[in-house]
Structures are given as structure tokens and as C-alpha cells.
């Protein structure tokens, strides 16, 4: 019975309606990547164990399955409850190699490894690259960043809090490898922002 009690959290907190919850979360994620920088509001449809937040738990339940390898940052991979929850609700295999990951989940954005260390795809198949889901403190209140590129009419300003210092440098490198490169979903409690590899990020508003 003790074993059951310690593991019970892994079995709870998934989608109440997997079909419709997954569909609505997917549409939000799709809109976020089709309209980079636009904040997409999100209901906490899942209750994953801390420090994983509900928005990220919902994205995981929507997109992860036995076909996708997941890389967790040290904060999350050390946490048995998180790994257990993700495994139970998505059956996705975990990997310790950033280069193998279809998805990477980062609880601590400030400790982000270099973007080049993740799967970049090949010049022939640039889609075979990692999508990073980065938990940040907040989508607003940070330094103003100006986005331009496909999906953006003129320009879009975002001010996420909790990105690593070297993020802009890393992102410029990511863009220079186009069509190869990673795509990023920034997630906070209040919603998500999509940063597909096409988007250009500069300081300023």
C-alpha cells in the first residue's frame, strides 16, 4: 500500500477528456507557432507534479507518445515524480542524449544547453529536429524583444522573463542554420509563445 501511495500522483492529473483536451491544446500550440510571439492563453487541463507546470503537462499529453524521444533537463530528470508522470500519461521513452530528442523539456530556462547540441535535422530532412519546451518565469515583464518573420504581419514585441543570458546569440546561430534548426515553445503559467526557427529576434520594441 505504501508503494501505491508514493506513486499515486503519477497516475493522476492527466487530461479529463483526452480527445477534446488534446485537440484544443494542439490548436493553441499550432496557433502559437503559426503566429510567433502571440501569447496564447491556456487552461490548466493537466495537473502534473511540480516543478512541471500545467501548460507544459498539457503540451506533453498532446504531442508526446511512444514515437517521440524526450530529453528532460537535469532539474526534471532528477525528479522521479515528473519522469513517472510523463511516462504514465504519454508512454514516451526518455533519452539522455540531446541529439536524439524529438522534444526537450526544460524547467530551468536559464540553464539551457546550447541550441546546437540538440537535433538539428538534416539539410534533406530539416523536420527531424528537436522541439524545445522551455518553462520560464513569465511571458511578460522581461527585456523587450522584437520579432519579425513568417506569421508576423509587421513586428511583434515580447518580453519573456527567465531566458538565459546567451539566448539571443544562440538564436542567431539557430537561424543561420536554416532550414535546419530547433523550434521553441516558451511556456509559463499564463500561456505559451511559439518561436519557430524562422523568426528573427532583436533587442528593442
Amino acid at each position: 500500500m505504501t508503494a501505491q501511495a508514493t506513486h499515486s500522483s503519477a497516475f493522476q492529473g492527466g487530461f479529463a477528456n483526452p480527445v477534446f483536451d488534446g485537440q484544443s491544446v494542439f490548436r493553441q500550440v499550432m496557433n502559437a507557432l503559426a503566429r510567433p510571439g502571440m501569447k496564447t492563453a491556456f487552461d490548466g487541463l493537466t495537473e502534473p507534479p511540480s516543478p512541471l507546470i500545467a501548460t507544459v503537462g498539457s503540451i506533453a499529453a498532446t504531442l508526446f507518445d511512444h514515437d517521440t524521444k524526450i530529453w528532460l533537463d537535469p532539474v526534471l530528470s532528477r525528479n522521479e515524480a515528473v519522469a513517472g508522470w510523463l511516462t504514465f500519461h504519454t508512454s514516451a521513452p526518455m533519452t539522455r542524449q540531446t541529439l536524439d530528442a524529438d522534444f526537450a523539456v526544460l524547467a530551468d530556462g536559464t540553464a539551457m544547453p546550447s541550441l546546437e547540441s540538440f537535433a538539428q535535422g538534416t539539410q534533406e530532412y530539416p523536420d527531424r529536429s528537436t522541439t524545445l519546451i522551455i518553462q520560464i518565469e513569465a511571458l511578460e515583464g522581461g527585456r523587450d524583444l522584437r520579432l519579425t518573420g513568417p506569421g508576423i504581419k509587421d513586428f511583434q514585441t515580447i518580453a519573456p522573463q527567465g531566458l538565459p543570458e546567451h539566448f539571443l546569440e544562440q538564436w542567431a546561430g539557430n537561424r543561420s542554420r536554416f532550414p535546419r534548426g530547433v523550434d521553441i515553445i516558451l511556456a509559463a503559467g499564463e500561456g505559451i509563445i511559439g518561436l519557430p526557427r524562422t523568426v528573427k529576434i532583436e533587442i528593442g520594441s
Binding site: 483526452p18 480527445v19 477534446f20 488534446g22 485537440q23 484544443s24 494542439f26 490548436r27 500550440v29 499550432m30 507557432l33 503559426a34 503566429r35 498532446t62 504531442l63 508526446f64 507518445d65 514515437d67 517521440t68 524529438d102 538534416t122 539539410q123 534533406e124 530532412y125 530539416p126 523536420d127 529536429s129 522541439t131 513568417p150 506569421g151 508576423i152 504581419k153 536554416f178 532550414p179 523550434d183 519557430p196 526557427r197 524562422t198
Partner: protein
Amino acid sequence: MNTHAQLATYNFAYLDEQTKRMIRRAILKAIAIPGYQVPFASREMPMPYGWGTGGVQVTASVLGPDDTLKVIDQGADDTTNAVSIRAFFQKVANVAVTTSTAEATIIQTRHRIPEETLKEGQILVYQVPIPEPLRFLEPRETETRKMHALEEYGLMHVKLYEDIAKNGHIATTYAYPVKVEGRYVMDPSPTPKFDNPKMHRSEALQLFGAGREKRIYAVPPYTDVVSLDFEDHPFEIQKFDEPCALCGARNVYLDEVILNDKGGRMFVCSDTDHCEKRRAEGHVGHLAGEAPETAQ
């Protein structure tokens, strides 16, 4: 046998959830790399290849209970392909349907873009027979992959040049190749080239599904879509001498309708919703006849 009980055993929108996740992941990568063809594990659908299995799988993966679906076939809401796909989603997803372009949140299309300008938040899903614009020039997938990888599109320009050399003008009138965001050359599906300018910086999200060829690609909103051409032979769309015979519309794409075996013909809007809306507003073409009410 109770047919309703049988239907209830289908998952929402026909596809199982694992298939939807796989297609959804492909759509996200397609959006991130505009114009690039993402391979996906296309499923067998309850309709033959060539009837829009790619478009149907994309629609089934994005569709939700709050959506309003419109389906067109060559611009028309009332032809076989459009009617059966619309009925399919009514049955398997119980989703609201419409023929009005403005009311639809998702529009699945076979080979036309509606005349009415699409708005932010709308999704246009194309049924694509052959997604590879270079396929008729180079049959080997390994080679066309490499050509896209190296951005080596000289062959396509040679093809357009040969058109000019033979005919004096670029004779490609449909599936006219475009370049997306200055990088990938893309087949816009066999839409008439008349529709190409509508893709450029469209407010709507454009998704393309090729079921038999197992490819998904996308053009996000506000993305540059430029038809290939030459400085001295700029891209031109089709022009029609006469307006629509039913609603009098000009600057729209017209279908030729044969009226008799003595050479009688009329040209009418290919977009039936656009034509009906205009006639309801009181626009009358020269062959429109009288409204049924007055005739009675």
C-alpha cells in the same frame, strides 16, 4: 443493425489519437519550415486516393467541436467531392458545416482558393495530389530531396524558359510553382495560377495534405509566396473577357459551361458561394434569367 450505435464506436473525427498526434507533430514542423514537405505516415481512409485523403487527414487532426467546416471542390460547395467530405465530417465529428466562406473556421479545398479574402484565424486545408513541384522534371525522390536541400531550382526555371521558347509565354496555368519566404519552391496544388496571388501574405494559415504521397506542408499567415517568373516575362494571372453570366462579377475565376451542341456556352463563377452571395445582393449577369419567385 443500429447504424447510430456503430457510428458511436468511431473516435471523434475518424482518426485514432495516435495518428492525430503523428499528423499534428508533422503540421507543427511544416509551419516552422514554410514550404518544406514533411513526410508523414498517411493512413488508409474510407475513400480512395485522389479523393482528398491528405486533406481529410489534416482536417481531421485540426478539427474540433467548436469549428465550422466548409468544403469546396473546384470552388463549388455542391459537387461530389465537396458534398461527400462535408457529410463525412458531419457524421464522424458532428461538426457544424457551412457554405459561407466568411463563417467557416476551417475550409478544405480541392484546387481553388475562395474569392472572398480569408481572415485571421481561418485555416485553409488543400488536397494535394502531387506535392513535389520538381517531380515531373526529376522522378527520383532522392534527387529532388537534394535539390531542395541545396536550393537548386535551376531546372524549374529551365522548364519555364522552355515554355517561353516554345509558346512565347509561360504556358503553365495551374500548379504554378511558387517560392515560399525566399527559400523553398512549392507546388500550390493544382489551383489555377489565378489564385497564386491570394496565397501571398494571406491572413489565414494554409495547410497542405498529400495522402498518397504522404507529405504535409504549410504556409503560415503573413508569409511571402512569390510565383516564379522572369524579369522580361513577369508572372501574370488569367484574364477573362466577359463577366460571370449569372452574377456579373469581374476579376473572378470563371468556369466554362457548355449549353448546347451549337457552340452555346456561358462563363460562370467557379466559386459558388461568392456567386450566390452576389446574386442575393442583387447583382445580375446577362444570362441570369428571372428569379424563381417572379417566374411563378
